[in-house]
């Protein structure tokens, strides 16, 4: 029995990961690459876009300094093979905004440092039932990283055409990944290889910034709306989105209005990330979600972002209640 469980690759686990490098992504953002070995590499080899990791942003062994106490959740931004001499390794890419004590601690980590991670956690995106279906990827701000990984996975799986929409407050937030040479003011609605992380999967991208400093001036839903009007063949597409709640709500409304299938990757204040603490609840419709009802304590109205999600069908979210909490 014991041997049997040891042989099977675990679904998730607590692992150590070695920092390979950190580099700048945009103003106030970093890309962190972690090396996974052995079981961790095998386990993460099956990770899906939308899944996340919980990183301990401190030395867990140092009991005198339990600060910051809780782990911090980060979406998986990419998984890459370990290279010729490290075939049983996997490189895990995380993109984070430096925002509080946890991410400040993370920012100070150097190559070779060992981190403790839990993962891969949650349920990722379900790649379309119809492989020929066009995929529309929307990432707003720190919601972009899972979209990079999703684009990789869609490309590898041989699904149909895809287009990405990247929203940011301003150009500087995309600095280090954006190729400004590809942006011209004439064809803001034509997908181009603007972003490094989408380029690797050959995914064309349309950029929208709040202040118009790069790409389309406005929000990501407006640009999608315009794009769909001009490119009717995409109106049959499957939408995948991740970003702030206000953006996701607008995307959900657009999808509903146009009767397009839409999966949203939600963010919530989280403590454990593994379905134990019951913190990260999101209000959902009470109907037809029985397929997901398996593990964690089910309630009439709330679902856990960490274990039921973070990916939800856009139609299942009750937005009024989600907003009421803000």
């Amino acid at each position: 029995m014991e041997n049997k469980t040891k042989k099977a690759t675990p679904r998730r686990g607590e692992y150590t990961a070695r920092v390979i490098e950190q580099r700048k992504f945009g103003v106030g953002h970093k890309i962190l690459c972690l090396e996974l070995e052995g079981t961790a590499a095998k386990c993460f080899g099956r990770a899906r876009a939308g899944q996340f990791v919980q990183i301990a942003c401190r030395d867990l062994a140092d009991q005198r300094r339990p600060v910051p106490l809780l782990r911090r959740p980060f979406s998986i931004a990419g998984l890459h093979p370990g290279g010729p001499d490290k075939q049983d390794c996997l490189s895990l890419e995380i993109i984070y905004r430096i925002i509080g004590p946890g991410t400040k601690w993370l920012e100070r980590c150097l190559s070779g440092d060992i981190l403790n991670i839990l993962g891969p956690l949650g349920n990722g995106f379900t790649l379309g039932q119809d492989p020929k279906k066009r995929a529309i990827l929307l990432g707003g701000g720190i919601g972009l990283p899972p979209m990079f990984f999703l684009a990789d996975q869609l490309a590898q799986s041989g699904y149909g055409e895809r287009v990405a929409f990247a929203g940011a407050r301003m150009k500087s937030h995309l600095e280090g990944t954006i190729d400004t040479r590809t942006i011209s003011s004439q064809d803001l609605l034509t997908p181009q290889m603007h972003l490094e992380q989408f380029k690797r999967s050959n995914t064309g991208c349309i950029i929208a910034t709040d202040d118009g400093s790069a790409g389309y001036c406005g929000n990501i839903t407006q640009v999608l709306e315009e794009f769909l009007e001009k490119n009717s063949q995409w109106q049959e597409g499957q939408i995948y989105a991740c970003g702030p709640d206000a953006m996701l709500k607008a995307v959900a409304e657009l999808a509903l209005k146009r009767d397009m299938p839409c999966q949203l990757c939600l963010e919530a204040y989280m403590a454990c990330g593994i379905g134990v603490c019951q913190s990260c609840v999101v209000p959902v419709q009470n109907s037809n979600n029985s397929a997901e009802e398996e593990n964690s304590p089910e309630t009439k109205q709330y679902k856990l972002v960490c274990t039921h999600g973070p990916v939800f069908d856009a139609r299942s979210i009750v937005w009024d209640k989600l907003e009421a909490k803000d």
């Binding site: 204040y269 603490c277 609840v281």
Partner: protein
Amino acid sequence: MVGKSNNPEPDLAVQLGSVRLANPLLTASGTCGYAFELNDFGDISQLGGFVTKSITLEVREGNPPQRTFETTAGMLNAIGLANVGLERFCEEKLPLLKRMPMPVFVNVAGKTIDEYVAVCRRLNEIEHISGLEINISCPNVKQGGITFGTEPRAINELVGAVRQSCPGTLLIVKLTPNITDITVAARAAIEAGADALSLVNTFLGMAIDIETKEPVLGNRTGGLSGPAIKPMAVYMVNRVYEQVTRGTGVPIIGMGGISCAADALEFIIAGATAVAVGTAAMIDPQCIAGIVEGLKQYLSRHGLTCISQLTGTLR
């Protein structure tokens, strides 16, 4: 210290009333769900016993978000006893708990005495449940919970009613620290028939968003757990041990900010027979095995043969 290496493996077993635990480490209710959640992350078979999340008669959705907030070395929570309710617990969660190799204790909460009694009576029929922990100390629900835990007469009535309905069962009563004198509550619980006391539940707290001037938690207030509360919890355990339980022999399960063996040992020296790990297990499930190992090493290092010798040895 050197000559001790020939000693046999120290005995970590402790006795909680009629129930024997292979080691004194339990889970604190609510922080380890229904056990299976932690399976992928740590070896929970190392535990001396498992305490479930609170079960109520009916399903509870819990409080509106935001439900938790990290403070300096602590965590505020106001989950509001979200749980699947008694029937679904029995149908869905119990089969997995029955496979656990160690004693399983179910934590029970309710709005009225009748509710507590109904849940306890039903659980009492189930063979694999080794005991019940009565939660009279949840700070995050409007009815029940803590309202039972601060009035000696209410404690007496509630614990007495449960005791009567489940005569042979190990009854643990979990007390709140949010009371002027915890020894009063401890005495009331023991007089009404408690076999053991869990000390302590979370400390009431609040965090404020200074930009919006609103409380961070949806419930406005919450309970503080984690390393931040450990000194206060150790103090409460010691106070109850010295003033109430040393004489009666009623064991204390100490908890509040335990994240390593040294923390657990403080509670035991203060007077606890067993200890529970909560917030820390949720952050690092592998700490469970580390704590058990650390206890063994401590006993060997101090030439002690069994851990029960250590309870209440504070000088």
